[in-house]
């Protein structure tokens, strides 16, 4: 019986993540008074890319060729380690908070290497910026997850979302503070405003896009899909760890259905918030970003200090 739920959990991240990206683009388009592409457009983009030929640079080494598979596989493995719709599932192997953080770092590592690999002018500085932002965001990310870990007495992500919700005011404030810190890190790690513009064409302003300028065909599809997966995973972490209302605590059909529905509602709130944020503010200049990440770190440290 549990294997059915694990199967759903396994496919949920890759199947639903392009829809999330489509929703963000649709909302941004509507706020610009356009109709925009349909919410299922990213699926069509991925399908088309998977059926195109590829052009590989002659300067590229095996790292360039292998990186998309590793990056995509890492997002799948992390997708199995975070609570999505059910908190009664147990993953005592890879469900640890630090393992999730460093597993995602594997993906960043290989993407940055792939950016340098082809020796183009843009990939190199894209990798440099991406690694700078990612290095400074790790502190905030670990402490944000630490807040909810201390609140529930464990760092296993499934167990955190399963813990009894203490809605007393004393422990609610640290969670809100650390959610803001976590949200800033979410924007940083998934290359959203104000850290990066995912739709830009100006290479000098790119961070994430600059590293994938050399990819084409199926490898590009895998990397775009992996970055959609990463956004989905971070949104799921934000939704389920900080606000675990409605998640399924047992294997009854009713609570599962409830869990899935609530999960999508929470995710939609986060995606809508991201889209509205992207339509309201401009991308920050690169050297203002460390200040923002330090703010996130300090918020999370204060939240941790409140709790213990």
């Amino acid at each position: 019986m549990e294997s059915i739920f694990w199967a759903i959990q396994l496919v949920m991240v890759p199947v639903m993540s392009p829809l999330g990206v489509g929703i963000i683009r649709k909302i941004k388009a509507k706020l610009q008074n356009r109709r925009g592409a349909s919410v299922f457009q990213p699926y069509k983009d991925l399908w088309k890319l998977l059926h195109k030929d590829e052009v590989l640079s002659s300067d590229a080494s095996w790292i360039f060729k292998v990186a998309p598979y590793i990056i995509f596989a890492v997002t799948i493995v992390v997708g199995l380690s975070v609570p999505l719709f059910a908190s009664f599932l147990q993953n005592t192997f890879t469900g640890d908070m630090l393992m999730v953080v460093y597993a995602l770092a594997i993906g960043t590592f290989f993407l940055a290497l792939a950016g340098i690999d082809t020796g183009g002018a843009f990939g190199g500085f894209g990798s440099s910026r991406e690694m700078t932002v990612s290095a400074l965001a790790e502190g905030g990310l670990i402490f944000a997850l630490l807040t909810v870990a201390f609140r529930s007495g464990t760092t296993n992500l499934f167990a955190i979302s399963n813990a009894a919700i203490l809605n007393t005011g004393y422990s609610f404030l640290p969670v809100i503070l650390s959610f803001f810190g976590f949200f800033i890190v979410l924007l940083a790690e998934t290359a959203r405003f104000p850290f990066d513009n995912p739709a830009t064409h100006l290479e000098l302003t790119m961070i994430h896009e600059a590293m994938i300028l050399e990819y084409s065909g199926k490898r590009l599809a895998l990397i775009e899909w992996a970055s959609a997966n990463k956004l989905f995973i971070f949104a799921a972490l934000g939704a389920n760890l900080f606000f675990p209302f409605g998640i399924a605590h047992d294997a009854q059909l009713g609570s599962i259905a409830f869990g899935v529905a609530f999960f999508f509602i929470k995710l939609s709130v986060i995606y809508i918030a991201i889209a509205i944020l992207e339509s309201s503010i401009a991308k920050y200049r690169f050297f203002r970003l460390p200040d923002l990440l330090l703010v996130s770190f300090v918020l999370n440290v204060v939240a941790v200090a409140f709790l213990i």
């Binding site: 998977l50 030929d53 590829e54 052009v55 640079s57 002659s58 300067d59 080494s61 095996w62 790292i63 598979y69 596989a73 493995v77 199995l80 005592t92 192997f93 890879t94 640890d96 630090l98 393992m99 460093y102 770092a105 594997i106 590592f109 290497l113 340098i116 690999d117 082809t118 020796g119 183009g120 002018a121 190199g124 440099s128 910026r129 690694m131 700078t132 990612s134 290095a135 400074l136 965001a137 790790e138 502190g139 670990i142 402490f143 630490l146 870990a149 201390f150 007495g153 464990t154 760092t155 296993n156 300028l213 050399e214 065909g217 199926k218 690169f286 050297f287 440290v301 941790v304 213990i308």
Partner: protein
Amino acid sequence: MLDAILSPVGFISLVLFFGVGAIGALMFRKNDEFANVWSSFFAVAGSLWGVLFALLALNAAYPLLLSFGVNTFPLFSVSLTVDKLSAFFIFVISAIALFCSIYGYGYVKHYYGKYSIGTLGFFYNLFIIGMLLVVTASNAIFFLIAWEIMSVASYFLVVYDRNEQENVKAGFLYLVMTHVGTAFIIAAFLLLFKYTGSFDFEAVKSGALLIPASVKDVIFVLSLIGFGTKAGIIPFHIWLHGAHPAAPSHVSGLMSGVMIKTGIYMMIRIFLDLLQPVPTWWGPVVMIVGSVSALLGVLYALTEHDIKRLLAYHSIENIGIILLGLGSALTFSSLNLPSLALLGLVAALFHTLNHATFKSLLFLSAGSVINGTHTRNMEEYGGLIKYMPYTALFFLVGSMAISALPPFNGFFSEWLTFQALFQGMKSLDLFTKWTFIGSAGALAFTGGLALECFVKAFGATFLARPRSAEARHAKESSLSLKFGMGALAAMALLFGIFSGYVTSILNRIGLDFGFTSSFVSSTPEQSLAAGGFSIVSGPAFFILLAAVVLAVVFAVKFLVNRNQKVRVGATWDCGVDLTPRMEITSTGFARSIILIFKGILKPSIQREIEYRDADSRYLPISRKITLKVNDMYRTYFYAPLSGLVSFVSERAKYIQSGNINAYILYILVALLASLYLVK
């Protein structure tokens, strides 16, 4: 038979292997090839013996004791104790020496005819003997003799390549700094002798209660500075980034991977073993020192474009991480929480083992690259992955391990250190709590910055296109080098996957210190469980990731993308020819983070521009930007200090007037003073 190995005879034969190797190398130094074979053979044989000996000693019920000449000298005796902590360090020394020696056999060949290989073999084996005796000595004077052997042998190894002037200068600085540290250590031992009446560690341990608290604090500070100089904590690290790059690469690996850990060993021995019970503020001080070393070490590493200096700074960073584990162990033991103290100690020891593995792997790979390209400057590398694929693969494994990426070993020891810090954050005392929070923050940032630094190092060295003619003509290294690197890479992966097994062995080391139960344990499925708070599994992650990668490759390549073709073209260059100058350089890569931290690093930028027409200054022929970070510690700390010493000695030389009547007056004054004091 195993009993015969784990005996005084066994240990003596261990030392003898290296001793024969050393003396034979010196005797046969006229014949380079034979000396190389002789010293490498005995080093490898001795290391194998050492690994076997250490594994047996880790399983033994009682520590092995050896002593000679207790009754000949009053204070000095050759006494050795091999308890589980020493056995662990013997294992680390032997395992790393094994692979460094195998690598060294092939590496040393490019010194044939230039320098004497026999002396290299002599000092190399002597160095290993020194380290082995340091971790097993149990008499303070014998310890100091072994410490000196180790330091002097490594000095001669550092200045081995003496045609380079900077190597000689680096060696001299190393000699001075290590003796400054030894002076502090001698002061600490003398204080211990004064209050406990003996130089033997056993006697000191039982007499530790007689030492007054203020003297214990002084001993703590002296030992921290003295052993910290060897370990390379900031601000006593100024010798490290000069000496480690100067030595031949297999020696660098041994120095950086193992020798600096002997400082850690003695810190553990003195703080956790000899001077118990300790005040509560010692632990947080060690942790603060560790956090500062970790953060500053990695920031300085980011500024480097010499590949071996970059790795040397990373050693400082990892020593900082080990000190975080050690400091938390000290804090917990002073708060009477033995299971948590063992958690901190296990974290520190596991990180010691892991760092020895991946740091020596990285140094050996760097040596292989330097062998092929004849330069240490990363700005002249590039594209080496096509010419040196094995070296690139092993360097990649080392980079992933040092950046704490699962499933390699670095992740699990950093995980354990994090667990120790998380548990400590719950402590009640405000100062301790904020030290733990600050250390956890430092560790989190260090992990991210180390990842960035190794993307830079690996990317600038192996990826993109070659930036110089040497890089284009580089060739892969020979078999012995590949074997040495490959074995260490395999060890990095295996220690990660079998981290549960390693942790259970490390837990047993706690028995030496009276810690019987541990906060961290390994489950039957080889997961690491930290007492109900966290659980993580190495083998499961590895298998899951490998399975998913294979599944994705299969699905995409053979199901979805079957009919599509892959064409090889050029990098998209916007229509302009791409030259190697257009790739990102290592300085350019790190520029963003250097500017972000410019308050700490204080970089200086120099711009040189050469114009076609000096008057109009429109079209430059060349533009050179030098981004430098000055060594703050030498300018603001050591230079004034050495200036003060010179000033005082200038004034003091007036005592030597040359007048014999003045000297007779000095003797009379000294005689009267000592008669007065003896009364």
